[in-house]
């Protein structure tokens, strides 16, 4: 990470491949209840896409895609999305995490599907933010 030789092939290929990894990660998150996948898996792949560029290019170039200071707030936002979905369900009359009461349509199975999707998005963002934050903080030696 502190070596100065920029191997052009590694640098170029990693920067070219990283958006496709992110796209595939979004596909994995959104298709969590039709095929193997879901929040955790997609979030880890999103983090891998960011960390690939940081490992290969390092320094200034690695920060362009995803700044270090965005890691923790993104993680917190993901957890708040999860918590907010469950709490909204609680405030609207059901128990905690009862997606049936969310105002997203009328077909019971479809509403629960949308509720799970919101939760999975929250989980994916949280996992991505936290994994990138762990990498950044361990590397610059700043214990939080």
């Amino acid at each position: 990470m502190t070596k100065k030789d920029n191997n052009p092939i590694v640098s170029l290929v990693s920067r070219a491949v990283s958006p496709f990894i992110m796209l595939y990660a979004l596909y994995v998150i959104f298709h969590g209840h039709y095929s193997p996948g879901g929040g955790f898996q997609g979030g880890t792949m999103l983090a891998a896409a960011v960390l690939l560029v940081r490992l290969a290019a390092g320094g200034e170039l690695g920060q362009l895609q995803f700044k270090t200071s965005w890691g923790m707030p993104l993680g917190s936002m993901g957890v708040l999305i999860y918590f907010g979905t469950g709490f909204t369900a609680l405030l609207l009359g059901g128990n905690f995490l009862n997606y049936h009461t969310l105002p997203l349509g009328s077909d019971p199975a479809a509403v629960r599907g949308w509720g799970i999707l919101l939760v999975e998005i929250g989980v994916g963002l949280a996992v991505m933010g936290i994994l990138v934050a762990i990498y950044d903080h361990l590397l610059e030696g700043d214990p939080l």
């Binding site: 917190s76 469950g86 128990n95 905690f96 009862n98 997606y99 049936h100 939080l144």
Partner: protein, 517 residues
């Protein structure tokens, strides 16, 4: 709005602390000293909800709450019965008082790191409350790990050897949680369900299989490590000593007790009383290990020089009392164990807060360096210390006497069937004497020397010369926000001791599981 909150009250406390774990860093983004008021708001709300839960259980009986409206055994359910409401009230009350004390001392020991510290405490309380209230075996593992990870962070934020202590605790705690998970896995493959009540219903028909025995052994082993049952207590002295004062004061009364609560639940409410006493007499093993732990902890505490380390070994002994009460497996022992959870929480928290006061004013808490001028400079702190010390020894009418009384009644009752229980009665009495030895050491050093010598420290600028021999020393007591919680806990010990019959008849008597005579 109020009806929504009251209908969902079992689940509110873990949710509240989870939300505040995220809100506190947000609120304190610009100014660090907004973290403490936010934390106190969360803690005050949680105490209010816990008190409400206790009254709800006392008038209506056990309350079942289904997450996502999925019925058990498919869904996760939260069970609010007398035992969980009681332990939840103890945890939240102790946390509130300790956090009141933390206002001055956290900025001293952890400068500029308060928002993450309070966020970690919030997540710890979320995990502990979640463990207490859940009725699902795997959900308990999740909350156990949430609270454990926060604990490792809280312990490691001290100075000197705290990262090493936290690392040792991390390795042992992860092994413990993994053993518990493996035990749950064995139970799942034999019974097909993860819900505690469901497993209890299915278990008698398959009770003879080796898988169930191994599951019991693994779960007891895992929870024994977490609870610091002798000889699995190796992580405890270092972890409690090198943690910051507030961390020790929150962890010591609550973390090991919650693990003892899990042991109680698993032994008596999942496996059933007759299984753990007659089919596989594991309660005998727990009793003997707890008894050895009591003597070991007390003897090791006598040998310590530093106050916090002494209190840590004393905690090993006190958790031994709770283990003894669980292992006796009769109503008196169980009442004694659960009452001791309450009493010991107050006593240990008060003692650790006193150690925090010493560190705040003197910079250290080494017993041999305490001067006898302390009794004039910090009179109220020493009064609280005396009350807590007398309660630990077991003098009536302070609270500590009554839990030992119930435990002694339990041993006498168990001795009618099993003569070795007389040894446990002797252990209880001898350990009270050993407690007296190590506490009176401190009291003698502070109170018993005559006030004739000139004190040698720098806070003398306000001295008044009234007599020739003695020099009047102005009280250098800690501020109100640190003194009031200490005093409340000390007074609380007296109040609990006087009111213990009401507490036992009102709540604890309903905890006795079916089948225990």
């Amino acid at each position: 709005m109020i009806t929504i909150l009251t209908k969902n009250s079992p689940v509110l406390i873990p949710l509240l602390f989870l939300a505040f774990g995220l809100i506190i860093p947000l609120v304190a983004w610009k100014r660090n000293n907004w973290a403490w008021p936010a934390m106190m708001l969360a803690s005050l709300t949680s105490v209010a909800i816990a008190v409400f839960n206790v009254f709800k259980v006392m008038e209506k009986g056990p309350v079942h709450y289904y997450m996502g409206n999925w019925m058990p055994p498919i869904g996760i359910e939260y069970v609010l019965d007398h035992l969980s409401a009681f332990v939840m009230l103890v945890i939240n009350l102790i946390a509130f008082l300790v956090l009141m004390h933390a206002k001055k001392i956290v900025p001293l020991e952890l400068t500029r790191r308060e928002p993450p510290y309070y966020a970690a405490i919030s997540l710890l309380l979320c995990g502990l409350n979640g463990i207490v209230i859940t009725g699902d075996l795997f959900n308990l593992y999740v909350f156990l790990e949430i609270s454990s990870l926060s604990l490792y962070g809280l312990i490691a934020s001290g100075e000197k050897k705290s990262p090493v202590a936290a690392f040792r605790y991390l390795i042992m705690g992860t092994i413990a949680a993994s053993f518990y998970l493996l035990g749950v896995g064995f139970l799942y493959i034999t019974t097909g369900s993860l819900n505690m009540a469901d497993v209890k219903a299915i278990l008698p028909s398959i009770a003879g299989q080796p898988t169930v025995l191994i599951a019991l052994a693994l779960m007891v082993l895992g929870m024994g490590i977490k609870m610091a049952l002798f000889p699995l207590h190796g992580w405890l002295p270092d972890a409690y000593t090198y943690a910051p004062s507030t961390s020790s004061a929150i962890i010591a009364p609550t973390a090991a007790k919650v693990a003892a609560y899990v042991l109680l639940r698993v032994l008596f409410f999942v496996f059933g009383v007759s299984f753990v006493t007659k089919t596989v007499p594991i309660t005998n093993v727990i009793m003997w290990l707890a008894a050895i732990g009591i003597i070991y902890g007390s003897i090791m505490a006598i040998a310590q020089k530093e106050l916090k380390r002494m209190l840590a070994y004393s905690s090993v002994a006190q958790v031994g009392y709770i283990g003894l009460g669980i292992g006796l497996a009769n109503p008196w022992g169980l009442i004694g164990a659960v009452l001791h959870v309450l009493n010991h929480a107050f006593m240990k928290a008060c003692l650790f807060l006193v150690a925090g006061n010493f560190r705040f004013k003197l910079g250290h808490s080494n017993i041999f360096k305490l001067e006898d001028s302390i009794r004039k400079k910090m009179p109220w702190t020493m009064a609280a210390f005396t009350a807590a010390a007398l309660s630990m020894v077991g003098l009536p009418p302070l609270a500590g006497f009554f839990s030992k009384w119930y435990l002694a009644l339990g041993t006498i009752k168990s001795a009618s069937t099993n003569w070795t229980s007389w040894i446990f009665l002797v252990v209880i009495l001898v350990s009270s004497l050993l407690n007296a030895v190590y506490f009176f050491r401190v009291l003698e050093k502070v109170y018993m020397k005559p006030m004739g010598k000139k004190p040698k420290d720098v806070h003398e600028s306000h001295e008044k010369h009234e007599k020739e021999e003695t020099i009047e020393i102005k009280s250098n007591e800690v501020g109100a926000s640190m003194l009031i919680p200490t005093l409340i806990m000390a007074i609380g010990l007296i109040v609990i001791g006087l009111l213990n019959a009401i507490i036992v008849k009102g709540i604890i008597a309903f905890i006795i599981p079916a089948g225990m005579k």
